[in-house]
Symmetry: C2
Subunit: 131 residues, 2 copies
């Protein structure tokens, strides 16, 4: 017994590649559809299993914006998100971590802050243009 994710598989390789090659933040379902084009018999179970393995390996990140559906992101360095409330697209924001924010709340936090999560919500330029 060596552990999960120790042996390669065509399925996992493809799943990772799909995530690497998109700037959207897909759902497991969408990844499934993409992988299916190369490997028509992949099951959703395999997609989920591998998304978890890749997450555990730190190669991808699992996101959740409170719609009950997980999304996945191959950009693993800390970054923020901008969520369009109209089309639900999620975009990465290339900003350095604003860790000075911790100072603003340190006094009132009953404990030790390790990290934070910052998401912005609004309407993206695409949707603005459609008005």
């Amino acid at each position: 017994m060596q552990g999960l994710g120790t042996k390669r598989s065509r399925q996992r390789d493809k799943i990772y590649q799909v995530l690497k090659c998109t700037t959207s933040h897909p759902t497991a379902e969408w990844v499934h559809e993409q992988v299916r084009e190369l490997l028509p018999r992949v099951s959703l179970g395999t997609i989920y299993r591998n998304l978890h393995i890749l997450t555990a390996q730190g190669k991808i990140r699992e996101l959740d914006f409170g719609e009950g559906i997980h999304r996945y992101d191959a950009t693993v360095d800390q970054h923020y998100h901008f969520v369009c409330e109209r089309c639900c697209t999620v975009r990465d924001l290339p900003v350095a971590p604003q860790n000075d924010i911790h100072d603003r709340v340190r006094d009132i936090v009953p404990g030790e802050i390790k990290s934070h999560r910052l998401d912005f919500f609004g309407v993206c330029s695409d949707c603005l243009a459609k008005n």
Copy 2:
């Protein structure tokens, strides 16, 4: 037909009261247990239906910290949260909205920012004390 939430019910009143009287951010399950002590026959379905009605009325807020379970909060003005990674307790942080943060990313956001969400993660003082 006047719409949902137009007629009062003992169940909804109690659900709201339970949320008002706790500083924790309970799950629907926990609310169910509490309400059950007064009304032993309430169903989980009723809890969910009313949590949605109260949310729609703006009397409570539905939260989600990415564990697949919703949590509810009777504090509806904008505020931040501190989540203890060890005991999963969620605490409100009494800080004014830091809307100047918008300025830091406005240039790089492809659209119009309307709001943001900021959560801090770490270890709460209770858990720190247990070491």
